[in-house]
């Protein structure tokens, strides 16, 4: 019997969490994050002058009787916006003593469960060099099992191409929403521009960088023949402690770039190592970043 993707104990702990976004995004009522857009909410927001075309049902008639002027009551809107989980399934996710691919799936499943419990509209979208078939579910924890089945059936394949993926994404999903990207972001090309591109289209980004210990600080020394997991390219080099320090610095620099991309666009950045348990990663870095509360 295969190991379950998420333990029941963890699911119980996840019940109290909510996916949180910062941007005011338009959407139907029923969400749990306030928006700067007024609408048919419950909480009073403000008054404004009546203009032609406004709904007369929203006129504050008490004020009209006293001042004989038409004022319109505005209410705070809590829109229901789509949460889209972009899960990297490229071959680079297979590497590491604890494969990043499994870790990313667990993380995606956990976030999916959090969203479904709060009746969010969830879309699980695997990607590598292009978008694969997606899984969409909205509302109710009873939709979680199909989501788990979907994630279990996903196999790592292809080479990461963020630019192509971003292009496909904006054309496939015109409605703005929350985009949670779970990836190692190890694209041979530049992934800064594609992420900026997504943000420019109005999506709120939460970047979750998953990395293994070998990715950040390779333990090997001596003569190495390295093979790129995605491209299959080989390179031979000598590696020692000094080289390792340089390598780690380069990796950290790259993580900083990702962090800057997320923050400058009002998003959030979370870095998670695979040797940290999934529950610790959620209740630690993810909660601290404000992605879930």
């Amino acid at each position: 019997m295969p190991e379950p993707l998420i333990e029941t104990a963890l699911l119980e702990k996840l019940e109290r969490l909510t996916i949180h976004w910062q941007k005011s995004l338009p959407g139907l009522v029923g969400g749990h994050n306030t928006s700067r857009f007024s609408g048919s909410g419950q909480e009073f927001l403000d008054h404004r002058h009546f203009h032609h075309g406004d709904d007369v049902r929203a006129v504050n008639w008490r004020v009209f009787l006293r001042l004989e002027k038409l004022f319109l009551k505005m209410f705070q809107l809590e829109p229901r916006i789509p949460v889209r989980l972009l899960v990297d399934v490229s071959r680079s996710m297979e590497t590491g003593e604890i494969p990043k691919f499994d870790y990313a799936r667990k993380l995606a499943a956990a976030l999916c469960y959090v969203g479904l419990v709060r009746l969010d509209s969830i879309c699980l979208q695997p990607f590598s060099d292009k978008l694969s078939d997606a899984f969409t579910a909205s509302g109710g924890r009873h939709r979680f099992q199909p989501a788990v089945n979907f994630l279990s059936g996903v196999k790592p394949t292809g080479q990461t191409n963020f630019l192509e993926v971003a292009r496909e994404f904006v054309s496939k999903f015109p409605q703005r929403g929350l985009v949670i990207v779970i990836s190692d972001f190890l694209d041979d090309g530049d992934c800064e521009k594609p992420l900026q591109y997504l943000s420019d289209f109005g999506h709120e980004l939460i970047l979750v960088q998953v990395w293994s210990a070998e990715d950040r600080e390779p333990p090997w020394v001596g003569e190495l023949e390295l093979e790129d997991a995605e491209t299959g390219m080989h390179v031979e080099l000598a590696f020692d402690a000094g080289a390792r320090a340089q390598y780690t610095a380069a990796f950290d620099e790259y993580s900083q770039v990702l962090r800057r991309v997320a923050l400058r666009n009002g998003g959030r950045y979370v870095s998670v190592a695979t040797d940290v348990p999934v529950d610790e990663a959620i209740f630690g870095p993810l909660v601290r970043s404000g992605a879930v509360e």
Binding site: D188, E217, G222, E223, E225, L237, G242, Y247, Q256
Partner: protein, 636 residues
């Protein structure tokens, strides 16, 4: 310094082989490692490290040196070197205790065996307590009494229980056995100690091809020895009731001796002779003694007061002379009397046919030209039987019959070759299947033998009434018939008293090996070999052995002790006497624990500094990485 477990060559060989393996493994282990990574961007694009320009054959020479040094130390520990003091390691000795017959000789006090036991015990006491000893008793065969044993009590018991045997010493075999035992069962061979008189066969007297680690503890007899060597008896060919007796006496000493040899049969004197013996020589005395009864014949050297009295007397049992009882029923006994009663081993009685008794007490019954109503129970010879009562059917009766052919290939026809025999009248038999035809005409057999119980021979003519009576074939035919019917009576018997050990028997020419049987006292067959006309068998214990070869029977009474003729002259290089008790106080220091500790420590240090302890290193790396990451996050 000494190596206990390995020779220097073995140590260097092992060290070389293992070092070669370690170096090969080192190059394999430290060779270029293939690794699959998520991306190459940080390896190549980032300013991490130059690409490999040249391969360093040895990247961590100190690791290799440390490994080789540690392995060398462990190997040295395995060799078990010692520092200082004498070599105190346990050694395995073999003590060969001579228990040949000669060891029963008189010594100054007790016997030679007692002296040899005392020497062996003294040798045991001189050995360090940790040394192991194997006790081997050696006479004609080398027999181990104990395994390599350090229990001194068990060894002394084995020595105490050793008694002189009856056979001569086979020293070469004993040395070979001891050498093989040390080679196969002993990690550190000690000495091979021979305690005994060393009286061996002449060919072994100058035995020099002996192991280099032999020590000789000699014991010597006080006096000279004259003894019986062999006694042989056989029936005189001329007078079957007379025994020809041969006695061989040997002087083993260095001085001439004159001895009186006396024979007694059943306690009564049967003869005596005085024999003068030169040093190292043998003399044979011959006696004749007439008796038909069985009894004990004793040969004794009367006036020999020598060191070894066991070979001064020998006793042999003589079997009774059994006569063959033949009852002849004939109306003309005078014709057959010369033919049958001439044999001294035959006791013939002649009676008229009217007195025929089918249950007569005889070994063979001869029926001359008459057929009784009841056939005899004993074996019978039918001469010209009437056709109506013949045991073998008569086909026809012919006049002037020519005897065409003898059958010399059969036992009954052996040696019969008379030709052109014309018989005035003869019966021709109709032989049944299994019958043995002896003489034939063209029409059929004239003499037929029938195998069964009882045996029957039918002769179709009267041998003394025909022209055959002048032929040699007639007595031969009768002799053949009697021998065929009662072979044990005519078997030639020889009795010999000899020594135990290997016995050589000269066979008659043409003896069929299938007819040879060698039987021990309990009638069990003994193994033997036949080479040409020589039969050889071995008897390790005193007793009687019968050798049956067709019509000849030899009885060996192997009761005389086998005293070898010569004394082993040990080469001058052989150590002699009891060695000094080894010093127990000075002890050597075992180095192996320290060497093993150093070797293990070296390997541990190598593992810590250079080892590929993946789990350990990965865990450490991750802990450092995580700490660095937290620091970086806080800072950023």
């Amino acid at each position: 310094m000494s190596f206990l477990n390995l020779s220097l060559g073995e140590l260097l060989g092992l060290a070389g082989a293992i070092s070669a393996g370690v170096v090969a493994l080192y190059f394999f282990d430290r060779s270029k490692r293939r690794q699959r990574v998520s991306t190459l961007r940080f390896w190549t694009a980032a300013d991490v490290r130059t690409e490999l320009k040249h391969r360093r054959r040895i990247q961590q020479p100190w690791s290799l040196i440390l490994q080789l040094l540690s392995i060398a130390l462990l190997l040295l520990a395995l060799a078990g070197p010692r520092w200082g003091g004498e070599d105190n390691s346990s050694r395995d000795h073999v003590v060969i205790l001579d228990n040949s017959a000669w060891m029963g000789s008189r010594a100054r006090q007790g016997t030679l065996m007692d002296d040899a036991k005392a020497s062996a015990r003294a040798y045991l006491k001189s050995l360090p307590a940790r040394d192991r000893v194997m006790i081997v008793r050696a006479d004609a065969l080398a027999t181990p009494v104990t395994a390599f044993e350090s229990n001194r009590q068990a060894l002394e018991d084995a020595i105490r229980q050793t008694q002189p045997g009856a056979s001569a010493l086979n020293l070469e075999q004993a040395f070979e056995f001891a050498q093989r035992a040390q080679k196969l069962q002993s990690p550190r061979a000690g000495e091979i100690v021979f305690a005994g008189a060393g009286r061996v066969a002449e060919q072994e007297a100058s035995l020099a091809a002996i192991p280099s680690n032999v020590r000789f503890l000699p014991v010597t007899a006080t006096g000279e020895n004259v003894g019986l060597r062999k006694i042989g008896l056989r029936r005189s060919p001329a007078a079957p009731d007379t025994w020809d007796i041969f006695v061989v006496v040997r002087n083993y000493g260095a001085r001439p001796h004159v001895v009186d040899l006396a024979l007694q049969f059943g306690g009564a004197p049967a003869g005596s002779k005085q024999i003068a013996l030169k040093p190292g020589s043998e003399e044979q005395a011959t006696f004749s003694y007439r008796t038909r009864v069985n009894g004990w014949l004793e040969a004794r050297i009367i006036n020999a007061r020598d060191a070894f009295p066991q070979d001064d007397r020998a006793v042999i049992e003589l079997p009774a002379q059994k006569a063959l009882r033949v009852m002849v029923y004939s109306t003309e006994p005078q014709l057959l009397r010369a033919l049958i009663a001439a044999n001294p081993q035959v006791d013939a009685v002649f009676e008229a046919p009217s007195k025929y008794d089918p249950q007569v007490k005889a070994d063979i019954v001869v029926l001359d030209r008459f057929a009784p109503s009841a056939r005899p129970r004993a074996d019978s010879i039918w001469i010209e039987p009437p056709a109506s009562g013949s045991p073998v059917p008569v086909k026809a009766t012919r006049q002037a019959v020519k005897l065409e052919r003898w059958r010399p290939e059969t036992t009954l026809g052996a040696g019969l070759r008379s030709k052109d025999v014309m018989l005035e009248s003869a019966e021709v038999f109709a032989a049944a299947q299994g019958d043995i035809p002896v003489a034939e005409t063209a029409e059929g057999p004239l003499i037929v033998g029938r195998i069964g119980s009882p045996k029957i021979v039918a002769i179709g003519f009267h041998p003394m009434r025909s022209s055959l009576k002048y032929e040699l074939a007639t007595p031969l035919l009768v002799a053949n018939i009697l021998r065929w019917m009662a072979p044990e009576t005519f078997r030639r018997l020889e009795v010999q008293a000899g020594t135990v050990g290997t016995v050589n028997v000269a066979l008659e020419k043409g003896t069929d090996p299938a007819s040879v049987h060698v039987l021990a006292e309990n009638q069990r067959p003994l193994p033997f070999t036949i080479e040409g006309n020589a039969l050889r068998f071995f008897s390790g214990a005193p007793g009687t052995v019968r050798v049956v070869t067709g019509d000849r029977e030899l009885v060996y009474s192997l009761t005389l002790p086998d005293v070898a003729e010569s004394v082993w002259q040990a080469p001058p290089t052989v150590r002699r006497g009891i060695p000094r008790a080894s010093a127990q106080g000075v002890s050597a220091t075992d180095l192996w624990p320290w060497l093993a500790l150093l070797g293990g420590l070296g390997l541990f240090i190598d593992w810590l500094l250079f080892g590929r302890s993946r789990a350990f290193r990965l865990r450490a790396t991750r802990m450092v990485a995580r700490a660095n990451w937290r620091t970086w996050r806080k800072a950023s």
